[in-house]
Subunit: 680 residues, 3 copies
């Protein structure tokens, strides 16, 4: 494939050839090339340019653009336009529209107002993709395809009548009989038993918005399935017509969507839309500096590389952001565009495409600035892009290298989706997710996400010495067994409170807790409680270190011979009860921690398990800097990123090669605000 | 009747025999009995267990349970299942559903989504009740019936088409002619005059949500009437079939419902669902300790005993609370379950039924913990229950005794409902209600609520030396006359600002204020004002004590010969104007206080009227303790309840019998956190 | 005309003769006259009094009132009743109702629930106006007509089907072809291209509420046009029947409405409803004293006098305000009613009508107090009114005089409406509008608003030495040209950041910024940014004075020969870049200021341009006092208004005539709280 090929870091941009203007197009492409841009993405949202009226297809507009691009040696990623159906379509076929939970239809005038399950929309979407792919597929300027745009962005819930019809089919396939469904959803509670499939709907308005949680969990799975099937419908068509070497991708990772499955079924690799400047929006800025702000996007990139270890950035922020209705943030300061580009590369991006070449002068996104301002003249950001281009040229050798971590956090979609609909689950989940990430960032400890899925293998887990699985609330026998194998063969597993008390339907187990995980943890939980808002927080005393027992406390007891109490609760009515138990399983170890994780608790685990600050011998870094290692063929490349608006002083005890200058450095070095270094 | 019979305090629990499992049932009932539980409530929400399909009735499931319960000598309260219609019902008859004000229907999937006025729902509800009552009525295991479940919980507003149809009939009966209705609702304002009954609806969306307040007041009365009629429909059916000694009740007191009328018409006594742990919800915890937190539930119990002086608790909290969507609170701490049980008994409960035996493992209420956790094994709360059982056995002699207070606060539904729809009324009402309750609690002064109703007699009022009627905004000649009799015969009445300026339709009187109360108060109000948010609060100087003149100030003038100025305003432009006037009427006294009551003002009234701390000679108590006296046959039993998480030191100058230990105590005694003592 | 005739200040009141009660009416009119009231407004909302049933007209009720008024020499303003259609109307013709954006209809029961575009409503409204005007028009008691009531109050957005139908016609007239419309709305973005007029609607629900901003801007213009046409429909009918000397007006200025056009087309002058006590509402009171509170109503009066330099107050607050649903505020304190009356007169009101004579005892507005309370007896406010009457008699000579300012702020509806829908525009707009007003108020610098409209002439601008046009985001060549003329002929123009980057459709220009204003400002803007929430504010150093560069910063460069850099940015990454540039154009000057205006910045401009405190030689005033000059025939009358609840000490170096006392004053004078003086 052209982009993710291990040969170099490629630059691109998003281009909107709105009107036929060959001179402007030529001038734009020429200027891009001067900046090092080799690829443009075009045609997302452009349905009406190809099918201006139902059944009337015209190809001339993009023919001209593609021919020019080919002539000028600019490569093209071509998009399917299904994110924005034309006005004629939704006006004639309102059944294609998405709806709010109360049935109110979302109408023409924004974007992503369609549903995935309307037979008519699937028919018309398939046709426009088929027409586009069959016509443009052979064009030599094209190197790849983007499906739709930001699938599940804006709305990731769908309540149209088409969705109800499809949901019933999906449920019949899953459960076969209503008895099985009634049992899985626990409909005996509140007399919800269904006696006919026609009584079942996607969630609808109920008093106190208290819909059946097992139904909502299945509904979320159904939404993900619908999105994946919609992507697969398109990719299967494109595959018929695209040149063999061309890739298929889509951009962004959004909620209620199994991105890993979508990648496997429909995409060659994922691309991500990275907008770290959201952290500086006027209406959502977090004054607390330790919120990490734009550095939190490294967490998003952890998600992305769990899908594709090498990936692309389809939209990399290059200007101020905002719609006319909100999200107002300042213009990136000098250096920030470089910083964010390098943040993406540090985590595995081999393709960086800036959003967008020119700033749009009309519509909702008039404040979403591109590389150029409205006037199109050269500016500071274009100058910075040229510097970035020089720097990425120095990084060619690390293309294809992958981010390297010895510890990972396990995630899985079932628990993510359950935590969305369950406030108790949600509270522990976010407490721990953010704490572990922040502790790893501030101690300069590389960290991965690994997703537990049906296809996950023991080898995928064994890449890591230590796995955190903070709150595996939903647990299946298969997953418990895989984790047991991982541990028995020498892995270390850390689980927190509230683990394994639900089955995969979200129903609570009647086994003693932690249910299916008891053989791993060697623990029993005779009692548990939320931390009362009235109390000063309970503490966990681990070898004299006092950790706050955050949010929820399982009161543990050793239940298997190897289980060993490591820490006790203090400062609460269950003072003296075990709060941390370590169990040994053959060659491995399981830690069961009774609470949600604070940043401090996560750091203590990293320290005790000898994971913390692995590159201490190579770099002394202040907390404001991230370190990100990429390795390839035995060589490690270190990205040092300064997210602060103040200089950062780092120290290299040993000599290292600075890839940007191609010189060797040692000793004390000062990074400017937003400065980046890449060392080998 | 079996439960409220003056013989003993009975314990029960809520049981959900979801699946036919005789061994599990037998084991559960056996274990309950070991804990002292003698009664189970079953079958609320169980419509589909009896009528799985329209018109198909099956009784076997509960036959088996009732037979087993009878065999094991466990008594049963049987519920009607009308709170949760089956899926087949609402799918086939959507006219049975309740709706939001904009017409959006509430759908199957939660609970309480039906309306009271659909002829079809009334028909089907009546039939299921008739089938249940006629079949199970004679069963010897049954001792009583619960109608529906938590009537008017979740939603106490109804906007379906059936409600509009019934509202028109209700209005025709009340007003006879449209002219009378137009006059009562003041429709001349904003040209709202109705010329045909078909123009009248339940409240509907209007700009600025500014519906006619007189219409809304009548609508609220109509909602209450609808709920009462729905309960009466059921009770009249049950009465035909139940054994003569069996009782009828329902659980909970909710808004927009005349619970006193419902009790009189349909119930033998009321039961209440007491969940004081709501005070410790993570999302609504009040950091201010003087908010009284769980002690505020004593105010709810005041309401309950104004309906039935002896009553039951149908659902007494026994575990952590929460739905998956919210209301998350910690597990009750050791002692709290005992505390809350004794709080209920202290206020007149003779039956305590814990919610619930096992914690539900499915559905919305998976975090609403019962006595047992998901696993069903014995736990700390079961152990505490066994201790509670021992304690309640020591309290048998006080069963049938009633709470005793010398002062009461008058309430009435018309003013409560007006205050809900009128922000000016609301502001003074809550300021005073909470202040008077808190002052009574903190000074250990027992206090009652007494409801002014059509049937209220002078004798009912004369039980009290002093009556507070803080803001009787709506006033009728009948009520004024009753209050005048009470006063003339020696009672003391305290009224606050804003009194009697509306008639019973909520229209303002054109008489000089305080309108119908002027003969009682002996006052005139030439001017009045809200307290400006700009100002430091005006003060009322009463014999040198400076009281904050909260929220609203009537500027008073003596208007009858006996009227005597007691206090003047200070620190405002009406400084020097009378703020408190005392009027003498034959043997009695009326105080007219120009402002809403602060806690301090309420305390000063209690002190000056010699009501404060009546048991001072018997007990010295810290503010954190409540005292609640129950009397019977000349004997008084004193509950001392420590709501704090710290110990409380109390002092008994004289020897008293400790009912739990059956020993005599005197001098300084330390109650542990959440500790309770009952002395005779 | 009777009221705005330059002869005297006239007093009136709003009267609601709800029921036929000649004695009450006579008594009321008698009492009014004792207070100096000569005019009553009647019959708004009184549709059913004239057409109780469809097509049945009856005139007797108001005949009687008008005859009585004439007999008693009280003049009458008669209203059309279209703000509140009768129940029979909206029940029979629901297409006349307004709707929320999701289509939910607003129903009978409030007010202003109709839409302007329903053919049926226009037909019935026209008929009731015709019937009223033709019948009552000749009556000698009548002196003028009020159209509807508070047009666009409550709701200024309309989403009914009638509105969509009318919007399509309006757009066809404006754009002629769909191609033109598609271009104007930038529908190429997000594939919004319309291919049939039937695809176009008023804004409807979209995901993220992200409707096309150019469509919304046109929609707002359409709403304004609809309201203006509705007013014109009525005025054209009234004109046919009214006596020649009678006037037509309407009351209030509300949003989404070109009040200037409505005045020109349909009204002889505007009247305003002035309720400064809103500043003291319990739920919206601003603790910060420098928020100006009730003094902010002078800003509203600036708007009013930009429409009619002499105007009336149709509803002047005379009591506490509030509906039963909110807006609760205290009773005006002694003096405030006088203060607010004089505030109105100070800005050009020659007619003051108090809302209302009696306080309504029924309906939503029971807390909106009039001069009399519910009982109707004399009170403190009636006494204050009698004093006001004496004072206004002393002011007869200034009737017809007009407010006098040397500086003005330019406003225009296009920019106001764009700023409503565009959060970036909104942020700078309000920052500057409030700052400039406050700076003028606190420095006692008179200030006008002048509206830039199609008909605006150079002469209208030349009345002012200096014009602020803080953020003319939308700019047309015609407007730029007018501003250039103004400058060239000697005017001084100050513009702020973000100027002229949009065309009149709200599309961004691709010219270098500031686009069409570049010939005026002589500047170029190579770069710009929102101020980051992370940063301490950038500063602008102007001759050593450090001004906060608020909200948004244009980084300026001189681009024409006369352009001269006056100030540079500091404390940011563009430190040293020009922040203020002065350009000279023939006899005039343009200042281009790179940021939004703070109060301090506005004050520095006033000072440097020699506008600040023009009456310094005549009055020394504390900041809490407003000065407002009215001039006529070479004489200036100065209103000094003390908005504070504390006394204000002012100083008159020279002798001035005190109009209230008709004596001469000099030296130090103390105004009581809320005190007012008028000097000549």
């Amino acid at each position: 494939m052209e982009l993710i090929n291990g040969q170099k870091i490629t630059l691109g941009t998003c281009y909107y050839p709105e009107h036929w203007d060959k001179n402007l197009w030529r001038e734009d492409l020429e200027r891009m090339k001067e900046c090092g841009i080799e690829v443009v993405r075009i045609a997302e949202f452009a349905w009406s340019k190809i099918e201006p009226r139902e059944g009337e297809f015209t190809y001339e507009f993009f023919n001209k653009f593609l021919d020019l691009a080919y002539e000028m040696n600019v490569k093209v990623i071509f998009c399917t336009p299904t994110a924005t159906p034309p006005a004629w379509l939704t006006e004639k076929y309102p059944e294609t529209l998405n709806a709010a939970i109360d049935g109110t239809l979302y109408r023409h005038g924004g974007r992503r107002h369609y549903n995935y399950n309307s037979p008519k929309y699937r028919e018309l979407a398939k046709r426009i993709v088929e027409k586009s792919a069959s016509h443009y597929g052979p064009h030599p300027a094209i190197i790849g395809w983007q499906i739709d745009n930001e699938i599940n962005c804006e709305k990731s819930e769908f309540y149209s009548e088409s969705d109800t019809a499809a949901f019933r089919i999906w449920l019949r396939e899953k459960y076969n009989t209503l008895d099985t469904l009634n049992e899985a959803w626990g409909t005996v509670f509140w007399n919800q038993t269904y006696t006919d499939w026609s009584q079942i709907y996607v969630p609808r308005p109920t008093p106190s918005s208290s819909n059946n949680p097992h139904q909502v969990l299945d509904y979320t799975r159904f939404i993900s399935d619908s999105a994946c099937r919609f992507a697969a419908l398109q990719s299967s068509v494109i595959r018929k017509y695209k040149k063999p070497e061309d890739f298929i991708t889509t951009n962004g990772i959004f909620s209620n969507l199994d991105n890993h499955r979508m990648r496997e079924e429909s995409l060659d690799f994922i691309t991500y839309d990275s907008y770290p400047n959201f952290a500086y929006c006027r209406d959502r800025f977090d004054q607390k500096e330790d919120s990490l702000r734009d550095r939190m996007w490294s967490r998003n990139l952890m998600e992305v590389r769990s899908i594709s270890s090498n990936f692309g950035i389809m939209e990399q922020q290059s200007g101020a952001n905002g719609w006319n209705t909100g999200m107002a943030a300042p213009t990136p300061k000098p250096g920030q565009m470089t910083l964010w580009t390098m943040q993406s590369i540090a985590h595995g991006a081999d393709y960086i495409s800036y959003f967008r070449w020119r700033t749009c002068t009309v519509g909702t996104e008039i404040y979403w600035h591109g590389l150029l301002d409205y006037s199109g003249r050269d500016n500071r950001r274009i100058a910075e892009l040229k510097e970035i281009h020089k720097k990425t040229q120095c990084l060619s050798e690390l293309a294809g290298s992958v981010y390297k971590a010895e510890a990972a956090v396990i995630r899985d979609y079932d628990n993510i989706w359950d935590s969305q609909l369950d406030t108790w689950h949600n509270a522990v989940e976010w407490q721990s997710q953010l704490s572990i990430f922040r502790a790893a960032q501030k101690t300069h400890t590389p960290l991965d996400y690994v997703y537990l899925r049906e296809t996950t293998t023991i080898e995928q887990l064994q890449k890591y010495k230590v796995l955190f699985y903070p709150h595996p609330v939903l647990m299946s026998p298969e997953r418990a067994s895989l984790l047991e194998q991982y541990t028995a063969q020498g892995g270390t597993l850390i689980i927190g409170c509230r683990s394994a008390y639900k089955d995969m339907n979200g129903r609570c187990t009647t086994d003693c807790l932690p249910g299916l995980l008891k053989p791993l943890t060697g623990t029993d939980i005779p009692e548990y409680t939320l931390v009362s808002p009235e109390d000063t927080p309970p503490l966990i005393n681990w070898d004299g270190q006092l950790l706050e027992a955050a949010v929820f406390n399982d009161q543990l007891t050793p239940a298997l011979p190897n289980a060993q109490v490591l820490a006790l609760y203090e400062n609460c009515y269950y003072e003296g009860t075990p709060a941390l138990i370590k169990n040994t399983i053959q060659k491995g170890t399981v830690y069961h921690y009774g609470a949600a994780f604070t940043e401090q608790a996560a750091e203590v685990f990293l320290e005790k398990l000898d994971l913390k600050t692995p590159y201490e011998a190579h770099f002394t870094l202040p907390p404001q800097c991230e370190i990100a290692p990429r390795t390839k063929d035995g060589t490690t490349y270190y990205f040092i990123l300064n997210y602060s608006n103040t200089p950062a002083v780092i120290c290299l005890p040993h000599q290292k090669k600075d890839l940007f200058t191609q010189t060797y450095a040692q000793g004390t070095i000062t990074l400017p605000p937003y400065g980046v270094k890449v060392y080998q």
